[in-house]
């Protein structure tokens, strides 16, 4: 906070109330500490719970740190074939969606950035407005469309519907990146005999790698998180994805086996945690260039 840094020397000069500055500093740290506790404790608690036996979970007072951590819950989750099925299906759908969305978004974003036309403006407004459409409201109609296409109960249906909801944001974000690339570079390549698609692949895409990473990560996260499409378009257990599978299986049948639920949660959230740690920098960059400007 550059603002906090700025008042400290000022206070030192203006008054000798050094203690006031210290009190202020401590107060700020305290507030931040409470926020961090709120944000991080649940994750800690989820992880800790997954290492406890069901007996320890129901102890009062609760064990803040597991005294005898057990891996039994993890073994149970991996022995249970269902969880692996959900996990792999989720991976399949998320990777598929990320690929489809990235291609469609790069093409559309480039077109909107370079070939401005009246139709382009309409598309731009259309994409923006989709952000407001409630997914719950279109589920039935979507179900009927996929039924007519004979795609009900396929992972392809999930890939298509998730792409449909992730393409707008990704397109607008990557367009922001393309807008920043000077046109002169492309014109030079054109004179050198580079084709239109060649310009996109050899010049524009390499220059907007952070943007590509950003839309890739955002799309993957949103697909990984899907629940509504999966509970509507998927009927059989073998095609089910993570969120739908967890909510149906671990709440219905095992009925509040919290140790198991916590373990499933940790494994289900882990890929996202890894993504965040690796790509955090690009996510901030991506938002700076794209969403923030728009």
């Amino acid at each position: 906070m550059s603002t906090t840094q700025s008042y400290k020397p000022l206070l030192n000069i203006v008054s000798s109330h050094n203690s006031k500055a210290i009190v202020k500093k401590v107060a700020i740290r305290l507030i931040i500490g409470v926020f961090l506790l709120f944000l991080l404790f649940p994750i800690y608690w989820m992880i800790v719970t997954s290492f406890k036996t069901n007996l320890e979970i129901y102890k009062i007072p609760p064990q803040w740190i597991p005294l005898q951590p057990t891996l039994d819950n993890y073994l149970g989750v991996f022995v249970d074939n269902n969880f692996l099925i959900y996990f792999m299906n989720n991976l399949y759908v998320s990777v598929g969606t990320t690929i489809l969305t990235s291609f469609a978004a790069v093409f559309a974003g480039y077109s909107l950035s370079r070939y401005r036309s009246r139709l382009g403006n309409v598309v731009n407004t259309g994409l923006l407005s989709t952000q407001m459409f409630p997914v719950v409201g279109i589920l039935l109609a979507l179900y009927m469309i996929f039924r007519d296409l004979h795609l009900i109960n396929t992972r392809m249906a999930l890939v298509i519907s998730l792409s449909a909801v992730t393409i707008p944001f990704s397109t607008l974000l990557i367009k922001g990146f393309f807008d920043d690339i000077p046109k002169s570079m492309e014109e030079a390549a054109k004179i050198d005999g580079c084709s239109r698609l060649g310009i996109l692949y050899r010049i524009v895409i390499p220059l907007s790698k952070p943007g590509l990473l950003a839309i890739g990560v955002f799309t993957f996260m949103q697909s990984w998180n899907d629940y509504l499409f999966a509970i509507t378009l998927i009927v059989t257990n073998s095609k089910r994805t993570l969120s739908a599978g967890i909510s149906l299986r671990y709440l219905g049948e095992v009925s509040y086996d919290w140790a198991q639920v916590a373990t499933v949660s940790v494994v289900g959230a882990l890929p996202m945690f890894i993504l965040i740690f690796i790509f955090q920098r690009y996510m901030i960059k991506g938002l700076t260039a794209g969403a923030v400007k728009g």
Binding site: F35, L40, I60, F107, F133, I145, Y227, Q280
Partner: protein
């Protein structure tokens, strides 16, 4: 020469259109088309139980029924209060957090990633996690509140009409806060540092520089991120469905839950579509007003 440039211009135009193709096709076919169909369904007596393939047009009857039963107004009110709680709290919290973490120390990078974790947690898992923590007998929240003497007996937060909505809001705040934090942080990093230095030399204090430098610079970011949180809160479904299912006594029956319950539990798609359409209309109207108000404020 003229012919060639004209031809090349035409090619440019066609190429530009072709690039739009995949996105327009997918978004058009699987977002706009179903939205259009839902609006049509909302004017039909569309019940699965009828078992026919054609459904009679009944004009505004679905809307009338919803309005007379008071379901729509109730759900609007619940959704609105939920949205207001969530958005105001995350705006204030994430503003404070982002100001603090904009100091640019390298050790902050790990901290920033840690803050983002809750946003990466899948919503259904968030719902399960908070259900577990809010649990009446063994939940950690009840334990801590009892120990601190803030409550005298344990509360079943999710099973009580007075506390259920607030409890779901806590989970929603937990999940959505990092996104706003990320947006504000990236906005803050776009403010030139010299601005603050110049202001400091001129004797401007930190509160003044926040109001006269930081906020004006962040205007667009705040506008965009607040709108996104408003829409996200309005659309929230998995948290409610998993944590409360709309209960107890309909105290958490939001528009999303009302839509889903009518369409997929009661199998009355006409009513479900009518809820969704009214809600969509409200959101569109709201964003138009919202953007206009904010734009005018800049002059």
């Amino acid at each position: 020469m003229n012919v060639i440039t004209n031809k090349s211009k035409l090619y440019d135009k066609l190429f530009g259109l072709a690039l739009l193709g995949p996105a327009v096709l997918i978004v058009g076919g699987f977002v706009f088309l179903p939205v259009f169909q839902s609006v049509l369904i909302s004017f039909q007596d569309f019940k699965l139980a009828r078992g026919t393939s054609s459904y009679p047009w009944i004009g505004l009857d679905n809307y009338k029924l919803l309005w007379e039963q008071g379901d729509l107004q109730h759900a609007f009110w619940i959704t609105f209060s939920f949205m207001l709680m969530v958005v105001i709290i995350i705006l204030v919290f994430s503003m404070i957090l982002s100001l603090f973490f904009n100091q640019g120390k390298s050790s902050d990078r790990t901290m920033r990633s840690l803050i983002l974790l809750s946003w990466g947690t899948p919503t259904v898992i968030v719902a399960l996690l908070w259900s577990w923590m809010f649990q009446a007998q063994y939940g950690i929240i009840n334990y801590v509140l009892l120990k601190l003497g803030l409550i005298s007996e344990s509360i079943s937060f999710l099973a009580h009409p007075d506390t259920a909505l607030g409890s779901v809001a806590v989970a929603a705040i937990w999940r959505q806060l990092p996104f706003m934090f990320l947006m504000l942080l990236s906005g803050l990093q776009g403010i030139p540092k010299e601005m603050y230095e110049a202001a400091r030399i001129d004797g401007v204090n930190s509160v003044q520089s926040f109001f006269y430098i930081t906020l004006p610079f962040l205007r667009n970011v705040i506008r965009a991120s607040v709108l996104i949180s408003i829409i996200t809160s309005f659309k929230q479904f998995p948290l409610f469905w998993v944590m409360t299912g709309g209960g107890p006594m309909r105290s958490t029956e939001t528009l999303a839950i009302l839509t889903y319950r009518n369409a997929f539990v009661n199998m009355n798609f006409g009513i479900g579509a009518a809820v969704a359409t009214s809600w969509l209309a409200a959101l569109v109207l709201f964003s138009i007003i919202y953007n206009r108000v904010f734009k005018e404020a800049s002059y």
